[in-house]
Symmetry: C2
Subunit: 573 residues, 2 copies
């Protein structure tokens, strides 16, 4: 056999598979268990996995797709940073006390964390190299392991404690340039997810702890997801819950209990009282928008008592009486709503102001879209797989990443950061594409594009293998001596290999093909009509729709045209 | 320009280079400093580096060479293990108390180390999958980061605290099979180092703490190395000092102080007294060989007092008198040597035996080779870059990696392990190939094969770039706006890029080439004679030898044949 090393090296793939694969009830297994019993990964500890040969192949295909787009479209250059990041950097940005950092101390008593993300390191590194406006714009990225001491790891891959991330960081001269870079990176993400060939949505998002104003999330919509995205049926804007702005179908109709949350303006001389229905969740982004950003965000997590205490501070009773108070009423509240007591005992009505027509709480399915004010919001469960942020000067200021402008003044860089959960993608793609037979990878990330099954290794298998030479490094021959032909085919299908080629004496010189992957287009149909007779290419009727709704679609073809047919089919995937 | 993304993404390579590269006195810099000032890596902490775009390209080329050979010749399949390895595994093999482990504790109070090597993890992992003799032989490998809390890190790369390793592990049915696998892996290593195109030696070695009997080291011979290898000028066997067996030019001529070291046989009923010149180092491998392995190795680090105490143990004076004593004399000792006092006060001469003609100490340059007993040993300083071990059952026994034999009995796997220091190789290759102008990579691992230099980006550069399309992803165009043509050429040479193509109006339609990499063969000379007129290919006379001893060799060629000439030259590298 010329077809070489893949077969040699992967002779043992079956070793990692559960011995009772067929009996294991694949359809009942969680996707994480499926990936484990099929031999893609092995979970060693909660949130930690070893990557086995099959899993590593899929992981590497995802890495290659991301790498290609990051360089060709994202104009980013690859670096690879040390995982051990010194305490001082993290103290600089106030993130050392994050409870999810894995920390360690070396023999010289220096403290490090295992990097969970690299804003600190990269800003400090690039700050040491960037000197002039001529050095900008500049984007760097890396694909490497990251660590987070998750309290509740989910599966080994979806929310792991050790995971593979693509993280990119951009540096620009001005906010305007940085937003352009942010937009270009979002376009690059669209291309990456299109290359992965899994349907996705991008949603405007709250930027959470990383900060900055603009932020987009990339999700696979799926009922198993832990996230929720809301889509407007009018303007079709998709947002995550934290970012979504909505109005109730009818305002001022709520009659239940009212919660209040106190806040201060940035000057800390005005008390802001935020009233909203107790059965809803206050949304800080909407609070900021309602108050035109004049809110002290550092108190976002402070208790009401703490805020009142700060408001009272050194003020005398008199001062207090003359202080301003703003009451902000969620538009759902009505006069029949049950309000809590007001916290100040003495006050002047003339210092009071009130905001009414605003929405302060997380959006809910069925409400009116706040963006177009017409459509209705529809909610979907989803799995987050990527996130982009415009960071502004948050890190560059703290870590001194500056450049000299054209007119020779010093300025702080404007940054963005962009993540994709690479190992998470393996689990997420498996999850949204699998069916009751097992995994069903899109061609782009399948560990192999083709599997070759025969009852035993003989000359026919030999001949077919060399006719498929073109896909040599992507063809797997099942060499499990303990498996019969039926078992081999079943394994190929449960592994989710797109095309299974079945060789046997009985139908020779015809070869059978079973197609497992979904088609993205159906050009193969025209080709099949055209070449049916010349190539001896028959196809079962069950698959009439162009996309395979059946889990497996069956073909036969004359051996001399196997290569042509496989080529045609793969092109559509 | 069609030539695409490499140019876009690497527009900023010059950013990472020292601003005063030419003035920096490259020849005076250590190789680690050179790699840093040229922008390959940035050291962040002692023994920790960030990989910059150029360094990462070289690193990735080395990885690709290793990966290819490991699969094609080593028949190994790639896996990728978690870096966080739980305490229990390491306690199992008695390696948890190694002072060089980086340790950390998670929020659930579980202890982990950052894996410095993976015998524990891989043996436990593969033990869970291997069940039958049909699953063997089996070799797995990975290329990933490893950690060691080195007390004295050397440079960022040569001995780092975080480093990239290729580590492979083999599992076999019998010792004989395992030794065959060990030999095949050594052949694979020979191919890897040949592909790297840097002269190397392989030396029989002591297996040190990892254990096992057979062990080979791979070294680059270089005066800067920290290791020493000894080569026999007769039989040409190369060994490291610990493994080398030698005899003095004249035996029994030593007249100085004699040291003694006590040991016990495996039954612990015979006292072994090892006498050797005090100015030499006792070699445990030679002791084992002299005693035909009947020595209790667990006492190798025990003090003389401890050994005597164990020997006395519960023995009565009478027992002791009848115990055996073996005196082993290094063949360098003479009757005039100054021996220490004998440790036993009462003994029977009849229980004494003595071994004379043996060598017990580390070999030294100038002595006679113990292998052929004819040649003389020559010592060379060297840098170790790879190591192979036959491990036997050391780990598989402790971690229960067993299989069922053909006749249905249970047996412990025979193992081997095989390491290459991948990040260390970058520094080692740089070190042994550099000269006073800077780096001088072999083509195999140069970050780019070709650099294109022109005073500015114009149509001529455009035309030349597209004629070199074949090497697009391996061609770098220096786009440093601040550098003139001379500076660009100098940078290309200091970066060690094999072929520098210089485009300018003055000599057009001829193009200049400066060749920096060493040739491995000189077939290009015949080609040059043959095509001199047709291709307009001239070459300077300074390079007469076939291998470039000059740091740079100059060519001119007509633009229409640039591609041919570049092809011819690169093939020889």
């Amino acid at each position: 056999m010329r077809a070489g090393y893949v077969r040699t090296a992967l002779r043992h793939v079956h070793l990692y598979q559960s011995k009772n694969l067929a009996k294991d009830g694949l359809k009942l297994q969680s996707t994480q268990d499926l990936l484990q019993s099929l031999g893609f990964v092995k979970q060693t500890q909660s949130g930690l996995v070893h990557w086995l040969p099959l899993g590593l192949r899929t992981l590497n295909k995802i890495k290659a797709i991301i790498r290609n787009r990051m360089e060709a479209n994202g104009k980013a250059q690859e670096v690879s940073l040390s995982l051990l990041s010194p305490k001082a950097l993290w103290e600089n940005t106030g993130r050392w006390n994050n409870g999810e950092l894995f920390k360690l101390r070396d023999s010289k008593e220096s403290d490090y964390c295992l990097a969970p993300t690299c804003e600190e390191e990269i800003t400090s590194l690039m700050g040491s190299y960037i000197s002039s406006y001529k050095d900008l714009p500049l984007t760097v990225y890396q694909i490497g392991r990251k660590y987070r001491d998750e309290k509740r790891p989910r599966g080994g891959l979806l929310r792991g404690r050790e995971f593979l991330m693509k993280d990119a960081y951009s540096f620009d001269q001005t906010e305007q340039d940085a937003i352009k870079t942010f937009e270009n990176m979002n376009n690059t993400y669209d291309l990456i997810f299109k290359d992965l060939r899994v349907p996705f949505v991008s949603a405007w998002a709250d930027s959470g702890a990383i900060g900055g104003d603009l932020s987009k999330e990339y999700h696979f919509v799926h009922q198993s997801g832990e996230d929720t995205v809301l889509e407007c049926d009018g303007c079709h804007q998709v947002s995550n819950v934290e970012k979504c702005h909505s109005y109730p179908q009818e305002t001022n109709t709520y009659v239940g209990d009212v919660s209040v949350r106190y806040a201060l303006n940035t000057a800390r001389d005005t008390l802001i009282c935020l009233y909203y229905p107790s059965n809803r969740t206050l949304n800080w982004n909407l609070v900021l928008a309602a108050m035109e950003r004049d809110v002290d965000s550092s108190l976002a997590d402070a208790s009401n008592e703490k805020v009142l205490q700060l408001f009272h501070a050194d003020k005398s009773e008199d001062d207090l009486m003359f202080s301003s108070v703003v009451r902000v009423m969620d538009c759902r509240l009505s006069s029949k709503s049950k309000f809590p007591d007001f916290p100040l005992t003495q006050y002047l009505k003339s210092n009071f102001s009130q905001l009414d027509d605003v929405s302060l709480v997380d959006a809910e399915e069925g409400e009116i879209c706040g963006a177009c004010e017409e459509g209705t919001l529809k909610g979907s469960k989803s799995i987050e797989v990527g996130h982009t942020f415009f960071l502004g000067q948050k890190y560059s200021k703290l870590l001194n990443a500056k450049f000299t402008t054209k007119d020779n003044t010093e300025q702080v860089c404007e940054m963005g950061c962009y993540g994709i959960g690479v190992s998470r993608l393996v689990a997420a793609i498996a999850q949204v594409t699998r069916d009751e037979m097992g995994l069903r990878w899109p061609r782009s990330v399948a560990p192999f594009q083709i599997s070759l099954c025969a009852a035993k290794s003989d000359e026919l298998l030999e001949e077919v293998a060399s006719s498929l030479q073109t896909w040599n490094s992507d063809t797997w021959i099942n060499q499990d001596a303990k498996a019969n032909l039926g078992r081999k085919i079943a394994t190929s299908h449960s592994l989710g290999i797109p095309v299974c080629v079945i060789v046997g004496k009985k139908q020779w010189p015809f070869v059978k093909l079973e197609v497992r992957a979904p088609y993205m287009t159906d050009k193969w149909r025209a080709s099949q009509s055209q070449h049916r007779d010349a190539w001896g290419w028959e196809c079962d009727d069950s698959a009439e729709t162009g996309t395979v709704s059946e889990p497996v679609q069956k073909h036969t073809v004359h051996k001399d045209h196997l290569k042509d047919v496989v080529g045609v089919i793969l092109t559509d995937m």
